[in-house]
Symmetry: C2
Subunit: 240 residues, 2 copies
DNA sequence: CCCGATAAGTGTACTCCGTACACCTGTCGG
DNA sequence: CCGACAGGTGTACGGAGTACACTTATCGGG
């Protein structure tokens, strides 16, 4: 009798997609470090071991989550030259990854050879080949792109965690400044030049999107030059 | 009486450096994933909590370990032009990091603002400034370098774990090949072209060092071009 | 109409992790 | 000689991933 009400509360018997979606939401909202099997189960109103009926283990869960995000990336635009196709695709990937910052860490931390990732890489290679790149050059170009293919760069000094930290007093600020000035004068100089209006000393105040596109275009320009001049690795190796 | 012998066995009362060195050795030999405070303590013939007298916590241990490796990187060569100075330094860093593969993961997984890392970055910036680069261009150039400053690239498909895995039968090999051919034809094509003599299907058979230098030189060439033509970010932004 | 197979969810328990905290011990300067 | 202090110990806690044995719900066929 009372049974019926409880059953209605938690219907839809939980499947792989619901598990993955919930995991993505949890990682988005609480951070990847808060994503544990136990926490995820709790979020789904279920006992931890129930998840293992839908994913083999945590590794596979992470793989699946990456797959979900990779699925959000726009497919290659058709009818564009290779440069624009690649560029737009990467910027689309970047938009997806910026919405889900945890993906970066997951992609970096483990070898990822899931169908979703392989599919993305494959279509990526396809854009170069379709653009007339030789298989040889395409290979090296893919290595040169590296993780930039996903739309992210290694951030040396990620200041994104600053919001939560305690407000620094003027004295500490001054002391840090002094410390930097004597120990790391070059970093300081660059950081000072980069800061626009906010008063932060190191990092930020610089336009990440601009930095990314700067490096990306630099690479793409290089690729194009090599392509135009019929570069081959054999010739390059002989020239050394 | 027997006391004396035991005490002689484990002399030298353990200090920060010994802890860090042991941690580095352990990570080198057993992999970073096997490095736990308990395991490390055991290796040092000490109880786990003893370590906390020398490092605040595991994070600081990892920071210290990175510091040890960064300390192994050659200082900038003097009297070279910026390009050679940067190139040689990066290749030196690469040699160090290849000896200690775990550093890559540690550097990637966390924001690293230790003195050792800051010092490295600072001296790195210094090489560009000394080469006549504007502060502005240096800033963007550092972003473009990203983790390549450390001598590593994001490896999409790291096959280094293959040695330990079970030998695949001819049938499985063939099945995998078939799978690849239909699902990821472009990856397959590139992989086939890259393989030299070994029979592996995906990855390896390609010269990682060559790939790295290919990308590095491409970037350095771009940097040089920008430098020569007096590039500034302001002008670049206006041009868009 | 029941029945057994299969899928989904549960409960308990194990091992391993980082580390807080109270304690002991050996050394050394006053 | 003594007391402070640095270095090492022992115990314990909470949290992680997950193995394994179990109940329960569903449903097609005799």
């Amino acid at each position: 009798m009372t049974q019926q009400v409880e059953e209605a509360t938690r219907r839809t018997p939980l499947n792989r997609d619901r598990v993955l979606s919930a995991a993505v939401v949890l990682a988005d909202e609480a951070g990847i470090e808060s994503l544990s099997m136990r926490r995820l189960a709790q979020e789904l109103g279920v006992v931890p071991m129930a998840l293992y009926k839908h994913v083999a283990n945590k590794e596979e869960l992470l793989d699946g989550m990456v797959g979900v995000i990779v699925g959000e990336i726009d497919p290659p635009v058709s009818g564009a030259d290779w440069r624009n196709a690649v560029r737009l695709r990467i910027l689309s990937a970047r938009r997806s990854l910026l919405r889900h910052p945890w993906v970066r860490q997951v992609l970096e931390s483990r070898t990822n050879r899931t169908p979703a990732v392989l599919g993305y890489v494959d279509s990526f290679i396809g854009m170069f080949l379709a653009g007339g790149f030789s298989v040889d050059l395409t290979h090296h170009v893919m290595h040169a792109l590296g993780s930039r293919m996903w739309g992210f760069t290694q951030e040396l000094f990620d200041d994104s965690a600053n919001a939560a930290s305690a407000p620094v007093t003027a004295e500490t600020q001054a002391a840090m400044f002094q410390e930097m000035a004597t120990r790391y004068p070059n970093i300081l100089e660059v950081a000072m030049a980069a800061k626009h209006d906010d008063g932060s000393v190191v990092g930020q105040g610089c336009d990440d999107q601009f930095e990314f596109e700067f490096a990306l275009d630099l690479l793409l320009d290089g690729f194009g030059r090599f392509h135009d001049q019929g570069w081959t690795s054999k010739r390059a190796k002989l020239a050394k």
